[in-house]
C-alpha cells in the first residue's frame, strides 16, 4: 500500500467511503435544480468530491446582490450578467476538470426535468420556490431517485432526504404551500444559514452516491443559527399511504401540465401574466405587510395591489394572479413573482 497522496485521498481515508466508495461516487450523476445560494454550494462540494456527472439547471443570471451568499460567482459575472448555470460551470471546470458538467439555462419545468432525468442518481434542491420543489418531489417518486430537499430564509433553514419507499415525501409533509410573502428579497438571508443547509445536503449526497444509504438521515433537520437552536424531527407519523405523490396509487399531480403555473406574455404590452395553478386564497394583506417592511413601494386599491421592484412593476389580484409590467420575458417575470411571493 502506498502513501495516500491522491486528489481524493482524504475522502478515501474516511472509512465509510474508502477507495470503493470513491469509485462509486465517480460513476454517479446528480441533477442540481437552481444554481443560487444552495446550488452553487452543493455543486462546488460535489465537484470537489469527484462526482462523475453534474447537471446544473437555472434560468437566472448573476447580479451584485447574489454575491453576498452565492459561491463561485465573481463581480465580473455580475457585471456581465452571466447566466448562473454557465458561470458556475466555468468556475467548476477550473476546480476539477474530471467532472462532466452540463449547464442548462432554462426554467426547470416538468418536461425539461423528465428529459434529463434518465440515468441520474440524485436530485438536489437549490430552487427558491415550492412550485419547482413539488415537481422534483414527484419526479423523485416516479423515477425512484432520492431527492435532497433544502431551503432557507434569514438565519433559519431546513433539510430533509426524501427516499422513495422509505421516508414520507414533500407532499406528505407539506399539504399546502404556506404563502407568507417571506422570501430572501423581503426578509433577507445570511450565508451561514445557506452553508448549514448545504452541509446537510452534501453529507447526504456523499452517503447516497458512495453506496452508504443506510447512513442517510431520516430526520427532518430544522435550525435557526441566530437563535442557536437545532431540531432533528422524526417524520414517520406523516407518511401517507394515500399520498398522490408517494402513496399506493400515485398520480404525480405536479407533472400534469394542468397543475403548472401559467405564464403568458401579453403581446405589445411589455407585460407578462402569471396565474398560479392553485386558485386558493391568496393572503394579499400579509404580503403587503412584508413588502412594505422590506422597503418596496406598494400602492393599490381594494381590488389589486401594485409593487415596484427594480425596473418592473407587479400587480397582484386577490386570486394570486399577477401582471408583471416592464418585461416581456417569461423567466424574468417568474423570477420577480417568486422573489415577492415565495
Amino acid at each position: 500500500m502506498t502513501t495516500p497522496a491522491g486528489r481524493y485521498s482524504r475522502q478515501e481515508l474516511f472509512k465509510p467511503i474508502g477507495p470503493t466508495g470513491q469509485k462509486e461516487i465517480r460513476n454517479k450523476s446528480a441533477i442540481i435544480v437552481g444554481v443560487g445560494a444552495l446550488g452553487t454550494n452543493t455543486s462546488e462540494l460535489l465537484t470537489r468530491a469527484g462526482v462523475g456527472k453534474l447537471i446544473l439547471i437555472d434560468r437566472d443570471y448573476v447580479e451584485m446582490s447574489n454575491l453576498q451568499r452565492q459561491h463561485l460567482f465573481t463581480e465580473e459575472d455580475a457585471r456581465k450578467k452571466w447566466p448562473k448555470a454557465e458561470a458556475a460551470k466555468e468556475k467548476l471546470a477550473l476546480i476539477n476538470k474530471e467532472v462532466d458538467i452540463t449547464a442548462i439555462v432554462a426554467q426547470a419545468d416538468a418536461p425539461l426535468l423528465e428529459n434529463v432525468i434518465d440515468g441520474a442518481d440524485l436530485l438536489i434542491d437549490g430552487t427558491d420556490n415550492f412550485e419547482t420543489r413539488f415537481i422534483m418531489n414527484d419526479l423523485a417518486q416516479k423515477y425512484r431517485i432520492p431527492y435532497l430537499f433544502g431551503s432557507c430564509l434569514g438565519s433559519f433553514g431546513m433539510a430533509f432526504s426524501i427516499m422513495p419507499d422509505v421516508t414520507p415525501c414533500l407532499q406528505c409533509l407539506i399539504k399546502k404551500i404556506p404563502l407568507q410573502g417571506q422570501t430572501c428579497d423581503t426578509v433577507g438571508i445570511i450565508a451561514p444559514a445557506v452553508q448549514m443547509v448545504t452541509a446537510h445536503q452534501g453529507a447526504e449526497a456523499l452517503k447516497i452516491l458512495s453506496g452508504n444509504v443506510a447512513a442517510v438521515n431520516q430526520a427532518y433537520v430544522s435550525f435557526d443559527l441566530w437563535e442557536n437552536n437545532y431540531l432533528s424531527l422524526k417524520t414517520d407519523a406523516l407518511k401517507e399511504s394515500g399520498c398522490r405523490s408517494c402513496g399506493e396509487e400515485p398520480a404525480y399531480p405536479f407533472l400534469d401540465p394542468a397543475h403548472e403555473m401559467k405564464v403568458a406574455v401579453l403581446c405589445g404590452r411589455d407585460t407578462v401574466q402569471i396565474r398560479p395553478a392553485d386558485q386558493r386564497d391568496f393572503p394579499l394583506e400579509k404580503m403587503v405587510r412584508q413588502w412594505r417592511s422590506a422597503g418596496y413601494e406598494v400602492g393599490g386599491n381594494p381590488f389589486l395591489v401594485s409593487v415596484r421592484k427594480g425596473g418592473a412593476r407587479a400587480v397582484f389580484f386577490r386570486d394570486g394572479r399577477a401582471l408583471i409590467h416592464g418585461t416581456s420575458n417569461p423567466d424574468t417575470a417568474r423570477k420577480i413573482y417568486h422573489s415577492l411571493v415565495g
Binding site: 432557507c152 435557526d224 422524526k234
Partner: protein
C-alpha cells in the same frame, strides 16, 4: 405548561422565539385552531407541527410538558 417554539415569520409575528401555553389534552388540530385565534400568529396553513421532536398529525393528543415546535417551510434557496 407547554413550550411552543416559533420560527421565521411566526417568531416575527409573536415578537419572541417561543410562547408558553397549556395545551395538554388538546389535539394538534385543536392547538392549531387555538393558536390562530388567540396567539396572533396569523394563519397556520401549511405550518408543520412537531411534538417532542416528532412531526404529528392533527389527531395526536398533546401531553403535559410536551414541547411543541411550529415549523414553517420557507421557500428560499
Amino acid at each position: 405548561m407547554n413550550k411552543v417554539l416559533l420560527f421565521a415569520q411566526l417568531k416575527e409575528n409573536a415578537g419572541k422565539s417561543f410562547i408558553e401555553i397549556n395545551a395538554a389534552g388538546k389535539t394538534v388540530g385543536e392547538l392549531r385552531a387555538y393558536l390562530e385565534k388567540k396567539a396572533s400568529l396569523g394563519s397556520l396553513d401549511g405550518i408543520m407541527i412537531a411534538v417532542n421532536e416528532e412531526f404529528a398529525k392533527d389527531e395526536k393528543v398533546i401531553g403535559e410538558h410536551d414541547e411543541i415546535a411550529l415549523i414553517p417551510p420557507v421557500s428560499g434557496g
